[in-house]
């Protein structure tokens, strides 16, 4: 038998195994009603965000030829009314979903990536390296994340990249602690000793053994982190630290506040972006919980 | 009156696994009964069923007569009174059955305080007595479980089991995780206590040799049924059921040239209670299976001298083929 047939064989097996795992995962996930609800909501939001260029187009944000009069109440022509510049608020909310979701996703991925690397390496290498790393983690943990994010955003230029960085760099400690604890648990199992006895080095143990066992935790953390990142982005934009050139839900809230919508009672300006933020956060949380409960029992199958 | 009489006990877990499928046992005070079997045979379930300690949702049928009273039909208050004061259990995995944040003395005193309404001082005195009885100095009661060795923790578990002067003690794998020497010490201790206090003892183990040495009678379980029963030595040295023979052969006698470089065992695995073979549940692994074994379940048949076995070859006029248990060298 040639080597190509051999590697093709093992690749085919790996594909088969992954397909079967995916099917099993989906079957288990399907049983969680709340998770399906969250997933459905997310699918809807993603669809809205992706098709936004087709449905509303970027000129919905144009201030110069705004279609309506400023701060019009909801009507047949403008289902959610207009903002202070006369722009269609429904279009703005749809357009703003792109930025909010994107920033939320990127920030969460950054945060979880930093947390996972710190957690796994601290749990694996232990010793002085881990002590130093965990003290840094503790320092970040006790700092109020919002204050730190605000400080970062003020110091750096105001752009989406800054927002992503500010959120990502301040919210990784929780993940790091959780991942480190799980790494320590995994590494005390006999199969780690077996891997070392087979000749596995640090990289092998961390990627082939620790990482698969830590991935469910990371996935669950990611989904939960996205929801808090969306909220954090909204907060930063609301405080005026977001990118002024893009439309986001938090930005809309800030505009609403500045336009005096609160005292004027223009609820259509405040409520829709707020509800959208809450719904996305909720949807991600529901998904995250469902993912956690599907993946966790299978981790510790003790028969 | 018999101390314990079990009649047609059946236990089915939620989900359909039939862990115990009709077991009859009896035990007199001062006597020791060994229940032997491997994983999945139902022996631990049997132990828990005797005191109604199985999880909610488990269906339990039959009768468990402790001094004439049916434990399974008792009211809740009576069951709690019987637990520990009538019969107690030394649990499997005793190392982990102790609460790590309480001192062992307090844990021994716990049932005393719960049952007798004794004063704390009286409980402390009794705890000291119990510790001395199991060979530990009374001061050891102040220690936490992690400060004790495996053998010492097992002794604490035994002291706890004796705390309320039960008439029956059920020991579930009391020496499994222990070294040979500590095991011998614990077994000696159990034997001494049983004879001193005229207790009834049911000892559950997978180690047939240990049971043969310690107990008077031996009941061998497989797939939820008792498939052989009789005087311990006789069942161990000369089992009638093919399963009993293979199980004895699995633990070789040192010095016996027949077992030198000849490990004996059975092909296949012990059956899963939720998926039992038809007919005689042992037939897929039996070296002496006949066609009828696949379709007909066997009941215990008398075979003289107080021995019974559930095998088609027992009690029939045709003697069973006199081969040793299947020699796995020649298989797969």
């Amino acid at each position: 038998m040639t080597t190509e047939a051999g590697t093709a064989g093992s690749r085919a097996l790996a594909r088969q195994r992954r397909r079967r795992s995916a099917v099993r995962f989906w079957r288990a996930y399907r049983t969680h009603g709340a998770g399906l609800l969250g997933l459905g909501a997310l699918a809807l939001f993603t669809l809205v965000a992706l098709t936004a260029p087709l449905t509303v187009g970027s000129d919905v944000a144009g201030v110069t030829d705004a279609p309506g009069r400023p701060l019009q109440a909801p009507s047949g022509e403008f289902p959610l009314g207009t903002d202070q510049f006369g722009r269609n608020l429904l279009g703005l909310v749809v357009w703003g979903s792109r930025v909010s979701l994107l920033v939320g996703l990127l920030a969460a991925v950054l945060s979880v990536a930093i947390g996972a690397v710190v957690g796994i390496t601290a749990g694996h290498f232990k010793g002085a390296y881990a002590t130093v790393l965990m003290r840094i983690t503790d320092w970040f943990l006790v700092m109020p994340t919002l204050v730190l994010a605000i400080a970062l955003a003020t110091v750096m230029s105001r752009s989406l990249g800054t927002v992503v960085l500010a959120i990502g760099v301040t919210s990784w400690p929780t993940t790091a602690r959780l991942v480190r604890a799980q790494t320590l648990t995994v590494e005390s199992r006999p199969y780690i000793e077996r891997a070392k006895a087979l000749g596995g080095g640090h990289w092998h143990v961390m990627t082939r053994h620790v990482l698969p066992n830590v991935t469910p935790l990371i996935l669950a953390q990611t989904t939960l982190m996205i929801s808090s990142s969306v909220l954090a982005e909204a907060t930063l934009a609301f405080l005026g630290l977001g990118d002024p050139t893009v439309i986001s839900w938090g930005g809309l809230l800030q505009d609403a506040r500045e336009a005096g919508a609160v005292s004027a009672g223009d609820w259509w300006y405040l409520v829709p972006p707020g509800i959208a933020i809450a719904l996305v956060a909720l949807a991600f949380t529901l998904c995250g919980r469902a993912v956690e409960s599907v993946l966790n029992p299978r981790l510790e199958v003790a028969r | 009156m018999t101390l314990l009489e079990v009649r047609d006990l059946t236990v089915t877990y939620p989900g359909g696994a039939a862990a115990v499928r009709g077991v009859d046992l009896s035990l007199e005070a001062g006597r020791k009964l060994g229940v032997a079997g491997e994983s999945g045979c139902g022996k631990s379930t049997l132990a828990l069923a005797l005191l109604r300690l199985l999880p909610a949702g488990t269906e339990v049928g039959g009768e468990v007569l402790l001094d004439g009273e049916d434990v399974l039909a008792m009211r809740w208050g009576r069951v709690r009174a019987v637990r520990w004061a009538g019969a107690s259990i030394v649990f499997q995995g005793a190392m982990h059955s102790l609460n790590p944040v309480h001192r062992v003395g307090d844990q021994i005193a716990e049932p005393i305080l719960l049952h007798g309404g004794a004063t704390p001082a009286a409980a402390r005195t009794r705890t000291g007595e119990l510790l001395e009885q199991v060979g530990l100095p009374a001061l050891r009661g102040r220690a936490y479980p992690h400060e004790l060795s495996g053998g010492q923790r097992q002794r604490v578990m035994i002291a706890m089991a004796l705390a309320c002067d039960p008439r029956l003690v059920i020991a579930d794998e009391p020496t499994t995780a222990l070294d040979v020497m500590i095991q011998a010490q614990i077994l000696r201790l159990i034997e001494r206590l049983v004879s001193e206090q005229e207790l009834g003892l049911i000892m559950i183990s997978h180690d047939l040799a240990v049971l043969a040495d310690t107990c008077d009678r031996l009941a061998l379980m497989y797939a939820g049924r008792v498939i052989e029963e009789g005087p311990a030595r006789a069942v161990y040295e000369n089992a009638l059921h093919p399963y009993g023979r293979s199980l004895s052969a699995a633990f070789p006698r040192i010095g016996d040239p027949a077992s030198r470089f000849a490990p004996r065992g059975l092909a296949g695995d012990p059956p899963d209670p939720s998926d039992l073979p038809s007919g005689c549940t042992f037939h897929p692994r039996c070296p002496q299976a006949l066609d009828v074994c696949a379709t007909q379940e066997q009941t215990l048949r008398e075979s003289g001298q107080g021995r019974r076995a559930a095998c088609v070859h027992v009690g029939s006029s045709v003697p069973p083929p006199a081969g040793p248990a299947q020699d796995v060298r020649s298989s797969t």
Binding site: M1, T3, A5, G6, T7, G9, S10, Q16, R17, R20, P190, Y191, E193, R194, A195, A197, L198, G199, G200, R208, H209, P212, N213, R298, A302, R303 | E38, S39, S149, G150, G151, Q152, D179, V180, M181, I182, A184, Q185, H206, D207, L208, S246, L247, A249, A250, F251, R253, I254, G255, S259, R260, F261, A262, P263, G265, L266, D269, P270, V328, R329
Partner: protein, 329 residues
């Protein structure tokens, strides 16, 4: 007649673990010489705390010795990561608990192929995995490729672990309590497998166990360990039917079917950070306690004079003052 050199040997091996919070260091392995020849199965028996697990792991290179050395195929072990990795292809480990030894998220295929992947095996991976699984008795091997450990029975899991060790084609396997967690009826098959591997592949083995019956079933030689030293060694027939060290005699006497009166030693094995002076067994020795040592005139020696480390070869040896007096009379 020159005997062939041993495949694996420990020379003057000491492994000491530093004590916690100022307690004295624990001398887990306190001077051991042990040889394992090609195609030989050696049983290392003793109670928990005697150091047999530590000795096995230092023979594998998993625990570096405090002093002394481990030699494989005549050459001392180098502890650089590259040298150790190459060593792993020749000496493999089978652990006690098969459910813990397998990563629950890896399929049987992944578990067996792990060794091949670590060592960048160039050839046909599925074929090598299939062959290892068949050799370990799981047939047809393809049926097991995509199964997970929790779907297998205890005996099957242990076979997967053994297959994972075999796939690298080692010359020696260290098995730490290979059948302790398995059902009695399944033990025989796994032990028979070890014997078959010896016949078919010439595989040597060091079996660490507390079960003397296991040694009787599969081992050629046995070494009895107590508190970090080997106290008696020799062929299984010799040591298990005619033991000379009081500790070995006591261990054998408490087995359920042993003839004569069981000698139940009192107390627990002392811990390795407080090894008694003189003969390390004297505090529990039944010969000393019964006065027989006095009568033989060596009681003082038992209390004060430590015995030397036994040689690793296959001759019958015993580290006991009293046993030696009996030989010379």
């Amino acid at each position: 007649m020159t005997t062939p050199p041993p495949l694996l040997s420990a020379r003057g091996l000491h492994v000491t673990f530093p004590g916690r919070h100022g307690s004295p260091p624990a001398r887990a392995v306190d001077g051991v010489e042990l040889d394992i020849g090609t195609g030989e199965i050696v049983a290392l028996v003793g109670e928990s705390g005697c150091g047999k697990t530590t000795l096995a792991r230092s023979l594998l290179g998993l625990v570096p010795p405090t002093s002394g050395s481990v030699h494989f195929a005549g050459k001392p072990l180098a502890y650089s990561s590259r040298a150790l990795k190459a060593y792993r292809k020749r000496v493999q480990l089978v652990l006690q608990d098969p459910s813990g030894s397998l990563n629950p998220r890896h399929t049987v295929y992944d578990a067996v192929a792990e060794g091949l992947r670590i060592h960048r095996h160039g050839g046909d991976e599925p074929a090598a995995v299939a062959e290892a699984l068949s050799r370990a008795g799981l047939r047809p091997p393809e049926r097991f490729f995509l199964r997970y450990p929790h779907e297998l029975s205890g005996g099957q899991r242990q076979r997967v672990v053994i297959a994972g060790a075999l796939v690298l084609q080692p010359e020696l396997i260290v098995a730490d309590e290979p059948v302790a967690s398995l059902d009695a009826s399944v033990r025989g098959e796994i032990l028979a497998l070890l014997l078959r591997l010896r016949t078919e592949l010439g595989l040597s083995a060091l079996v660490v166990t507390h079960d003397l019956g296991l040694a009787w079933n599969v081992a050629d030689r046995v070494a009895v360990m107590y508190l970090g030293r080997i106290v008696e060694t020799g062929t299984v027939e010799q040591v298990l039917t005619a033991p000379r060290h009081p500790y070995t005699q006591a261990l054998l006497s408490v087995l359920p079917e042993a003839p004569g009166e069981p000698v139940v030693l009192t107390g627990e094995p002392p811990d390795p950070s407080r090894i008694p002076s003189g003969c390390r067994f004297h505090a529990r020795c039944q010969v000393l306690a019964s006065g027989e040592a006095e009568r033989a005139g060596i009681a003082e020696r038992c209390r004060t004079q430590d015995l030397e480390v036994l040689r690793g070869g296959d001759e019958t040896q015993v580290a006991c003052h009293w046993a030696r007096t009996r030989v010379s009379t």
